[in-house]
Amino acid sequence: MIAIGVIGQAVVPGGFDKFINALGSGIALGAIYALLALGFVIIFKATQVVNFAHGAIAALGAYLVSYFAVTVNIPGRWITGAPDWLQWMLSALIAVAATALIGMIIERITIRPMIGEPLFAVAMITLGLDLIIRTISNDLMDNTNTGLGDPWGVSFVDIGPLRMANTQIATLVITVIVVILLALFFRSRTGVAVRATAFDQEAAMAQGISVGKVFAIAWGIGAALAALGGIFSSVAPRGAAGVSPFTALVAFRAFPAVIIGGLDSIVGAIVGGLIIGIAEVFAGSYLGQISWLGNGFAGIVPWLAMMVVLLVKPYGLFGTEEIRRV
């Protein structure tokens, strides 16, 4: 880390402080993308479905947090004595669980009938889902910004020259917890069933694994992770004003993260997310002043990075190469 810092100080304009701050924000943003990408990869690995609706589910999850925490104040209205942050956490937990349930319902209604169909056809179904969920959640949030009422607000913590928003630290902590939980989950009995299904659906079925249940679990976990990613992309400093129709589009940028890591690699999702996050923030803070690049260049850096990686490694950094039959 010190070596990177020294190089950064020597090479880039703005010095070490700017570099380390960009790196910190980049890793925090990368964690958001990693959360979104993880959900996506888990769904793809277990069910072979490319979920284009992931961004929409993320936005819906973030909206549900604002609904439970701000609009109806559940469960805060029943436990009035509890501190604010605990009430908000519980609301967020309910919202994430609700999103997971919605994910399972979606799987049961639209994905289950498509087992055995071509990958592309199922992917198109999720494109349709994306339109439906995005439109309905946009209508629910009245096409404007809706605050999540999170307890962190816009306060910062200074660690030496590094200044991190509380939400960024929360993002990192939650991401680490999620990754540990996932690692533990994949060692549990159910997790092994999910891995077996990912490996070979028919063989898993022959071993007595209920593949349908595995599908539901994968979609539940995927949707829950999407909701987490959605929450953190609609609190400060990412989306200071809360969840908005724009959130779903921001979540779209997690797709390059998935592709860079490889569609079916969980490690790849985390690495890809971090690469994309750091690249986007660095492009924003170092290339922002270059006038001929225009507005919003940072927003397409993930896509450009994805294309470069794909040209070198067509299945992403950690993706399994497809074995093709002649």
Partner: protein, 425 residues
């Protein structure tokens, strides 16, 4: 072979454009309907010639051109593309730079249509050929993401290239559909202004009830786009049934096997991207000039999804299916709007469908039951535009689950039922 339309005695007759008499007759019928419909000359369907319907049908015809292109790429060559909107935008902006009027803030050469329309297709095709090497290297769903990335990169470009695309919220005016020899010359044929179709058609009046000498601008646009679409559809059909198209189908079905048989994969995919982008470029240019003014944000992912949905709903890999899908997708919103309006009036004024209207339509701030807010879109409940997007998503899902062959599959089943009638086999 009389009376045995399915008996082909040689390969060339099976690959013929219209292999049976039935198909020839139905094509002629279709052509007659297509010519008479806008002239208020069809019994019961005279309303199709009204301005609002003509605008919608014109849009469908332009969409059909782009959908034909995507059908060649996705349906025939099997390359999944979500980047069709990008190629359409390339065509549209080529057209406006070559044909548009120069201003203080925008470029424009003011060249006539016979230059900008082919150029729109050719430039888009060149860009498609540039993208093709990626498609050779990256396959399947990874390719879908690359083309998705193209749309986002394109949106960034159009937002920032103000000299080409105009202001981010205003766009810029597109050149009109009119045929003139060179810039600043009077148009020989204008496809947008009211009046006779062409000067020499003025005295000719074959059908007394058809007022050809005073044609609406929309109707003239219709004939222009119809002919353009028909030419491109025929071209597409010919591509599909000759060497190029069959090599694409071989690549789609099993690319390695195709290469073993001597079908060059890289060449086929490059051709497919180039030709498909040519269609998209033409469609983008015509769409922009029919609409007149387009903002950069219009070339977004939703437009691409619309075309993917059109070929899925219509039936991938067929020209007829693509056309059916286009009309279905473009006309459904209008029908939904009319039905919503009808149900709303039923709910307020009473009628046989009043109960349905009350359940479906949320008429005001005091009404809490209903899915659609109509006519006032405020408050909870979807607006009609939002309902259309939701329905569109539902349609994609329903068609993929229930009828993977699309409208074309439904048509096949109906046709086969009547072919064997009264027997079921």
């Amino acid at each position: 072979m009389r009376g045995r339309p399915n008996l082909y005695t040689n390969y060339s007759s099976e690959m013929g454009l219209f292999p049976s008499t039935t198909k020839k007759v139905s094509m002629v019928l279709l052509a007659v309907i297509a010519i008479l419909a806008p002239l208020h000359a069809l019994p019961y369907f005279g309303f199709l010639g009204d301005g609002a319907w003509m605008v919608l049908i014109n849009k469908a015809l332009v969409y059909a051109i782009a959908a034909l292109g995507l059908n060649l790429l996705t349906g025939v060559a099997g390359q999944v593309s979500l980047g069709h909107a990008f190629f359409m935008a390339v065509g549209a902006y080529t057209a406006v730079v070559l044909g548009g009027e120069a201003g203080n803030t925008v470029w424009g050469l003011g060249l006539p249509m016979w230059i900008w329309l082919p150029a729109a297709g050719i430039v888009a095709a060149l860009v498609g050929v540039l993208i093709a090497p990626t498609a050779v290297r990256v396959r399947g769903l990874y390719l879908a993401f690359v083309t998705l990335g193209l749309v986002f990169i394109g949106l960034y470009l159009w937002r920032n290239l103000g000299k080409i695309a105009g202001g981010p919220t205003t766009g810029r005016p597109w050149p009109e559909l009119e045929f003139s020899l060179w810039r600043n010359m009077d148009p020989i044929i204008s496809f947008t202004s009211d009046g006779p179709l062409w000067w020499w058609l003025k005295p000719v009046n074959l059908l007394p009830w058809v007022h050809i000498e005073e044609m609406d601008g929309e109707v003239k646009t219709y004939f222009f786009v119809l002919v353009l679409m028909a030419i491109l559809a025929l071209l597409g059909k010919n591509i599909m049934r000759t060497r190029i198209g069959r090599s694409w189908a071989a690549i789609r079905d099993r690319d390695i096997a195709a290469e073993v048989m001597g079908v060059p994969e890289a060449k086929g995919k490059t051709q497919a991207f180039g030709i498909s982008s040519f269609y998209a470029g033409i469609a983008g240019a015509v769409l922009a000039s029919v609409v007149g003014r387009i903002i950069p944000e219009s070339w977004d992912i939703f437009l691409s999804v619309e075309f993917v949905a059109i070929i899925l709903i219509g039936g991938a890999g067929t020209v007829v299916g693509t056309l059916m899908g286009t009309f279905f997708v473009v006309l459904t919103p209008r029908i939904v709007e009319n039905v919503t309006g009808f149900l709303a009036t039923q709910a307020t004024e009473g009628g046989p469908f009043a109960w349905l209207g009350k359940l479906f339509v949320r008429s005001g701030p005091d009404d809490w039951i209903g899915i659609v807010s109509y006519p006032d879109a405020a408050g909870p409940g979807l607006s009609v535009a939002q309902l259309n997007i939701v329905l569109f998503g539902v349609l994609i899902i329903v068609f993929l689950i229930a009828e993977p062959l699309g409208l074309y599959g439904i048509w096949l089943r109906v046709r086969n039922y009547w072919k064997g009638w009264p027997f079921t086999y």
